[in-house]
């Protein structure tokens, strides 16, 4: 009865933000499909993807909302920050302007999410090292200054992509363990599995196979 894809203990809500063309959709696609999408069209409004991962032996379903980077969609996309447990803030290491905008994205993220939201900084397109416009050290310093975790990734090669998503989940899970994230509140971005119900029928086995 162990039905793999449906067997999970928590749902974490993520949001991916950042300038247009930094590869947000490609990161999502790489993470959910393990493939690189070469001709990724501009996202219209928001898109949605899921994947189940494992953190400390717990199966966790990630519900990831990929937002459009274009300014004209801000009116729509900013409504999706609400209740995100994790925010992946992406810039393009080959375009300094996308890095320069990070502080405004960060302000948005801080204002629109709850204080426990884990914000993760991703420098995408690390495969294009030759065209690099933002050094690792500089971005790392920015991340440290703002208390963000930072990784350079490549949606194309898949390098570090898993780590970014998993590390974020680990931090959220850590927050739950610490008790700093209160699951009883609505909009925390995390939906816990309920305590095992003592259903009249099959209550016992239900514990073993929570599929």
């Amino acid at each position: 009865m162990a039905a793999g894809p449906y067997n999970y203990s928590y749902i974490f809500k993520y949001i991916i933000i950042g300038d247009m063309g930094v590869g947000k959709s490609c990161l999502l696609h790489q993470f959910t499909e393990k493939k690189f999408m070469a001709d990724c069209p501009h996202t219209i409004g928001v898109e949605f993807g899921t994947r189940i991962i494992e953190v400390s032996g717990q199966k966790i379903k990630l519900q990831i909302w990929d937002t459009a980077g274009q300014e004209r969609f801000r009116a729509v996309t900013r409504s999706y920050y609400r209740g995100a447990a994790g925010a992946l803030m992406v810039y393009d290491i080959t375009r300094r302007s996308t890095y320069n905008h990070l502080s405004s994205w960060l302000t948005d993220a801080r204002n629109l999410t709850n204080p426990n939201t884990v914000i993760f900084l991703i420098g995408n397109k690390s495969d294009l090292d030759a065209q690099r416009d933002v050094t690792y050290e500089e971005a790392k310093a920015f991340a440290d200054e703002n208390g963000l975790t930072f990784l350079e990734c490549s949606a194309k090669t898949g390098e570090n992509v898993e780590d970014a998503f998993l590390e974020t989940a680990r931090k959220i899970y850590q927050n739950i363990q610490d008790g700093s994230l209160d699951l009883n509140q609505a909009d925390s971005g995390v939906q816990p599995k309920q305590l095992p119900r003592t259903t009249p029928a099959g209550g016992g086995d239900a514990k073993q196979c929570n599929c």
């Binding site: 009865m1 039905a3 449906y6 749902i11 809500k13 501009h42 219209i44 409004g45 928001v46 949605f48 899921t50 379903k61 519900q63 909302w65 274009q70 004209r72 969609f73 009116a75 729509v76 900013r78 409504s79 999706y80 920050y81 609400r82 209740g83 629109l112 999410t113 709850n114 204080p115 426990n116 994230l181 209160d182 509140q185 609505a186 909009d187 925390s188 939906q191 816990p192 599995k193 309920q194 095992p196 119900r197 259903t199 009249p200 029928a201 099959g202 086995d205 239900a206 196979c209 929570n210 599929c211």
Partner: protein, 641 residues
């Protein structure tokens, strides 16, 4: 003596005379007898010796009698002993006889019994055979029952637990029932109709009861699902899988699920609106109600996200079902679950809208609705209440937008005054165009579909531009046609420069262009006429253009005499020397340099064309003109262009 003594020893037969004498014989015999070697004698002596204790005469005389006595005694003892033996033997004989009799009796009885048991044996054998047959049949029957009857534990599983629940054995048992029922159809093909029918009936009943139970159970389970995150009971997947067989019950079961989830979603929505996140961060959505765009946007985003989660939960619930079932039910169920959101959502949106009268804000709102209607359309049924609500709200905001736009335009048009002498567009025109630009700017290009956008733009232009142009025309009625043309051209080019920046304006631009051309034509023809008038060429031109060869030479026609023509040509030369000074003052009021140049160029062309016609007539020999101070057409063109 020695010879005699030796004789027996040597074995040499004794002389006949020795033998002949009996005494000798006897003597010899006695002498020869060797007592010590005669064992018998020794034994006898030995026997006698014990009771012959003293060797007396008396004793010796009595020996014989004693011996006889003893012999007699011995015999008597013998006799006694033998008598006992004989008695014993007789006893034995008697016993044996009796035994023999007994045996005989037994043999007889055995024989009799044998006689009697033969029947029994036959009977037994037949019974044994029968029993074997019966056993075989029993085996077959057991196998049959095994194949066509539920095991006790299966029957128990089908009856459910005491409180109406089911356990994991329920579904295998249910499958068994189904199998048996199917097998019975096979059975019907054999001769076992009655049995098959009976079993089928029984199985059908069991099946029915099981489904009844299962439905009740699902009902109860589903009622527990009105919570935030559902950890679905694994048995539920199987329950829904099994329910697929009963479309009606399946639908009812889904209805239960629907109802539970719907009430949950509504509650969660209200929570998000009024309570917000942990510790009020993020803030409750209702706190944003002063900013309708943000407020509505957040509500719609919440709905969108809730729908994604609901879809996942539903897909999990139905994961064991057939794909076509999933396809059939996912959209209707989601439509139904989200139906509950319509009312709270609509009420709030309408409230927020009631205080909004800015066209730009209203237009953005309508675009937002259009975007979400398109975004969630794929996840719901075509006629889902939520989509209907959003569409209605979109229509509402769009109508509000157009009426707000209309009243804004009207308000601004009231302030439109006649133009100054500079013939530039008045302030009101710029105001309206500024608003138009704001509206068009606010259109988030990709938020709505192309058709929607085109339609909206057409309507917006109709609402803004048509009344404006009308008002402008009315406001300019006191001006001369030339002034009107210039003024309209100035206004139109302002409009053109604004809307040409946007998409889907081709039709409107074409229209404006046509209007501009019409005004330009007026300007060109006015100017060309004025030039021809000032140079005195106008009469010459019209007469030359109207002249037909059958009317005779042109020079004979009054007003076309050579001297008149000569003087006109003289004036025309003055024009040719300084064509710019002949330009009308109004043309310099044209704001667009391009337009100015174009008007100038076309005026020259017109004048040139007129000259061309006149020139052709003048040089034609049939028209009988003397030598005139004529410049050739090419020369004139050279000078003007």
């Amino acid at each position: 003596m020695a010879a005699v003594a030796e004789a027996p020893g040597t074995g040499v037969p004794l002389p006949a005379q020795v033998q002949a004498n009996p005494i000798t014989k006897k003597l010899n015999k006695i002498l020869d007898s060797k007592i010590e070697t005669d064992q018998e004698l020794l034994d006898a002596l030995e026997t006698v010796s014990p009771f012959l204790t003293e060797n007396t005469l008396q004793r010796r005389r009595n020996l014989r009698r004693d011996l006889e006595q003893r012999s007699l005694e011995t015999n008597i003892r013998f006799l006694n002993s033998f008598r006992k033996v004989r008695d014993a033997v007789e006893g034995v004989t008697k016993d044996v006889d009796e035994m023999s009799k007994c045996c005989e009796a037994m043999t007889n009885r055995l024989r009799a019994t044998k006689e009697q048991t033969r029947d029994l044996l036959n009977q037994t054998t037949s019974l044994q055979n029968q029993s074997k047959r019966v056993e075989k049949r029993a085996e077959i029957v057991t196998a049959f029952l095994g194949a066509f009857q539920l095991k006790p534990e299966e029957a128990k599983a089908l009856r459910g637990t005491a409180d109406g629940g089911i356990d994991r054995n329920f579904f295998p048992a249910l499958n068994r029932v189904r199998e048996i029922h199917a097998d019975c159809k096979q059975l019907l093909r054999t001769s076992q109709h009655a049995a098959a029918l009976e079993i089928m009936e029984k199985m059908a009943a069991a099946h029915e009861a099981a489904y009844e139970l299962l439905y009740r159970w699902i009902q109860r389970e589903c009622r527990l699902l009105n919570v935030d995150f559902v950890d679905l009971n694994p048995l539920l997947y199987q329950a829904f899988e099994a329910m697929q067989e009963r479309p009606v019950l399946f639908k009812y079961s889904l209805d239960e699920y629907n109802t539970a989830r719907r009430s949950h979603v509504v509650r969660a929505f209200i929570d998000a609106l009024t309570r917000g996140g942990p510790g009020g961060v993020p803030k409750p959505i209702e706190l944003l109600s002063h900013d309708p765009l943000r407020y509505v946007g957040d509500m719609l985003a919440w709905v969108h996200q809730a729908m994604a989660s609901e879809r996942e939960t539903l897909q999990t619930l139905l994961k064991a079902c057939k794909p076509e079932v999933l396809e059939e039910y996912v959209l209707p169920v989601l439509s139904h679950i989200t139906e509950g959101l319509c009312r709270p959502f609509k009420v709030r949106v309408e409230q927020a809208l009631s205080s909004e009268n800015q066209p730009v804000a209203l237009y953005r709102l309508s675009n937002l609705f259009t975007f979400y209607a398109n975004t969630i359309r794929a996840s719901l049924q075509e006629d889902a209440a939520l989509i209907r609500s959003i569409e209605e709200l979109k229509e509402l905001t769009l109508n509000m937008f157009f009426s707000a736009l209309n009243s804004s335009v009207q308000r601004m048009l009231e302030k439109i005054v006649p133009p100054d002498t500079d013939l530039l567009p008045v302030q009101g025109v710029h105001q309206i165009l500024l608003m138009l630009r704001d509206v068009l700017e606010s259109h988030d290009a990709a938020l709505v579909t192309v058709t929607d956008k085109k339609e909206n733009f057409t309507r917006i232009f109709a609402t803004v531009l048509d009344p404006m142009l009308q008002t402008l025309l009315v406001s300019a009625t006191q001006l001369s046609p030339l002034d009107v043309a210039v003024y309209m051209l100035n206004c139109l080019s302002s409009i053109y420069s604004v809307i040409s920046l946007y998409q889907y304006t081709d039709d409107r631009l074409e229209m404006i262009k046509a209007q501009m051309e019409a005004n330009e034509d007026v300007l060109v023809s006015e100017q060309a006429t004025a030039i021809l008038k000032r140079t005195g060429m106008i009469d010459l031109y019209s007469k030359a253009a109207a002249h037909q060869p059958k009317q005779g030479p042109l020079s004979a026609i009054s007003g076309m005499e050579a001297p008149i023509i000569s003087s006109a040509l003289g004036k025309f030369d003055v024009f040719l020397a300084k064509p710019d000074s002949y330009q009308m003052q109004q043309c310099s009021y044209l704001t667009s340099a391009k337009l100015r140049a174009s008007v100038q160029k076309r005026t020259i062309e017109n004048v040139l064309a007129a000259y061309g016609i006149l020139y052709a007539k003048l040089i034609e020999p049939a028209n009988n003109y003397p030598q005139l101070p004529l410049k050739s057409f090419d020369q004139v063109r050279e000078l003007l262009v």
